[in-house]
């Protein structure tokens, strides 16, 4: 057996015991070894559940400590960590919460927001496109250039469709006053980005979030306008498209344009 294969077998066996309970100890592993192994096993679980608690504090607050711990343990079993950084432990956790809290759909939406804020915190820096720079960049546009225009968003920008007023829930949790039903009258959206070094978010109309998501995926401004026209009709769509563009510029979501 090669050195690599010999060590790989030992490490696979050790890791299996770190990640699971009640495996029979291999021959040669005595009780002292088992006691030491227990420390690694407990540390593994504690560290990962704590990482999730740190990343999703408002979700912990909303669902309660016990329910969150059970969900975190489930996530750990179904999606054992594979990334080099503990910061990625929450990847996929909002989706897991969606399955576990199928009757409380605001839970995955709240968790989505916490995860988006977490990732926006360390997203690449990018100087926002000012209104003046936007005007200068588009000054020479011919008519068809507007339809072909691609908007470049700051790397921290993320959007999500939601059925609940997650901003209201977020702020109520901050005040420790969250109770009741936060269902929106009409489906809406969430937009997350970064102002300087601080992640921020706002609720958005469904059309705002969907147009933004479409443009982020690489669609042209003209294609986004078509989406709005399908929903609202051409005249209202044109007015809204201009309004949304102004909002994104004012928020600092854009960093450039290209044709």
């Amino acid at each position: 057996m090669s050195a690599q294969a010999e060590l790989a077998a030992q490490q696979a066996e050790f890791m299996a015991h770190v990640m699971a309970d009640a495996l029979a100890l291999p021959s040669g592993w005595n009780a002292r070894f088992a006691s030491g192994l227990d420390i690694y096993r407990n540390a593994y679980r504690t560290r990962l559940v704590e990482a999730l608690r740190d990343t999703f504090p408002r979700t912990v607050q909303w669902v309660g400590d016990e329910a969150f711990a059970a969900a975190a343990a489930h996530h750990l079993i179904t999606t054992p960590p594979s990334s080099w950084t503990l910061d990625h432990a929450g990847l996929g956790f909002p989706e897991v919460l969606g399955e576990l809290f199928a009757n409380d759909p605001e839970v995955p939406e709240l968790a989505w927001l916490e995860w988006a804020m977490h990732t926006a915190f360390v997203a690449a820096d990018a100087a926002p496109l000012t209104r003046e720079r936007f005007v200068a960049a588009t000054a020479g546009f011919a008519g068809e250039d507007w339809a072909e225009m691609r908007l470049i968003f700051q790397p921290a920008v993320q959007t999500c469709s939601v059925a609940h007023d997650i901003a209201k829930l977020w702020n109520a949790l901050k005040q420790d006053e969250a109770v009741g039903d936060y269902t929106l009258a009409q489906p809406g959206g969430l937009v997350v980005w970064r102002e300087g070094l601080s992640p921020v978010f706002r609720m958005a109309d469904r059309t705002d979030a969907e147009a933004l998501a479409l443009l982020q995926s690489g669609a042209s401004y003209g294609e986004a306008c078509s989406l709005l026209a399908d929903r609202l009709g051409p005249e209202e769509a044109a007015a809204l498209a201009g309004s949304l563009l102004g909002q994104w510029l004012a928020d600092g979501l854009l960093v450039g344009v290209s044709v």
């Binding site: 060590l7 790989a8 050790f14 070894f33 006691s35 030491g36 192994l37 080099w84 950084t85 997203a123």
Partner: protein, 277 residues
């Protein structure tokens, strides 16, 4: 491989709760140590803070995820990010631990113990060669603390480390607390351990607190105990101009408490130097 010059300073770990102190005040430390992974990010506040800290202090990089003992080799993406950070930061040096953290499928996010066999030594040395090549610099590796030892070990931990340093040209980070913890847990002599290391390769020393018990746990969440201080006092004159730092990762106190511990280390170094002279 490149040479790492000594840096005879006393330092602390850069932790979030002390950002303001280090950015706004005049703190009496010679260097700061960062957890590399906390800054291996695209941008945002961590990198902003670090760039401003770097303007004021020399910085050492200390990682926890290289997994130099992994039988499945090194993570190319991780190494690329580590190199990017080192090139950007220009650190005193880059260190990690003699341990493994992952298999090909899963990451424990813990510093797991290695079997001390000739097979493991071959793997570790190959990985160190690759890591130092990828980083374009020699690295430091820290002696681990551990809670169980593999049956079938073929050498002592310090013999493994000495052979590793000889074969790869790497340098060492001597964690005095880890020696104390593992000496208790495995029943060896801490003095024998340190005497068996190539101390001329030590460029940095860690001092930290631990949780006592039947099995002592390396928690870094409290003050340094008398036993660790005694061990450091006994060996400090043997460590030349190695940099010394207090490592606190949990229950982080106000900076003044850590600076007071650093004063103790300074006094012990000076007393050791007088004895040696």
């Amino acid at each position: 491989m490149t040479t790492i010059q000594t840096f005879a300073g006393l330092g602390l770990g850069l932790r979030r709760s002390h950002y303001h102190d280090f950015l706004e005040g005049e703190v009496a430390v010679d260097f700061l140590e960062i957890i590399s992974e906390n800054y291996m990010v695209a941008g945002g506040k961590p990198r902003d803070v670090l760039s401003r800290v770097r303007e004021r202090y020399p910085v050492a990089m200390h990682g926890v995820s290289l997994s130099i003992g992994s039988a499945h080799g090194l993570d190319a993406d991780y190494l690329r990010r580590l190199r990017e950070l080192a090139d950007w930061l220009d650190p005193l040096w880059v260190s990690d631990h003699l341990c493994w953290t992952r298999t090909s499928a899963h990451n424990s996010h813990d510093l797991l113990p290695l079997p001390y066999t000739r097979a493991a030594l071959d793997v570790v040395c190959d990985n160190i060669d690759r890591a130092q090549q990828a980083m374009g610099r020699a690295m430091l590796f820290e002696n681990p603390s551990s809670y169980c030892a593999f049956p079938g070990n073929e050498m002592e931990e310090w013999e493994f480390i000495a052979a590793m340093a000889r074969r790869t040209g790497c340098y060492l980070l001597l964690d005095v607390n880890n020696v104390f913890v593992s000496a208790h847990n495995h029943g060896f002599s801490a003095r024998d351990y340190i005497a068996g290391l190539p101390l001329e390769r030590v460029r940095q020393v860690h001092l930290a607190g631990h949780t006592p018990g039947e099995i002592v746990i390396d928690t870094h969440d409290r003050e340094i105990c008398d036993g660790v201080w005694r061990l450091f006092a006994e060996v400090s004159d043997m460590l030349g101009d190695a940099a010394v730092m207090i490592e606190r990762d949990d229950a982080i106190p106000p900076l003044a408490e850590l600076l007071a511990e650093l004063d103790i280390a300074r006094a012990m170094q000076q007393a050791g130097a007088k004895v040696a002279a």
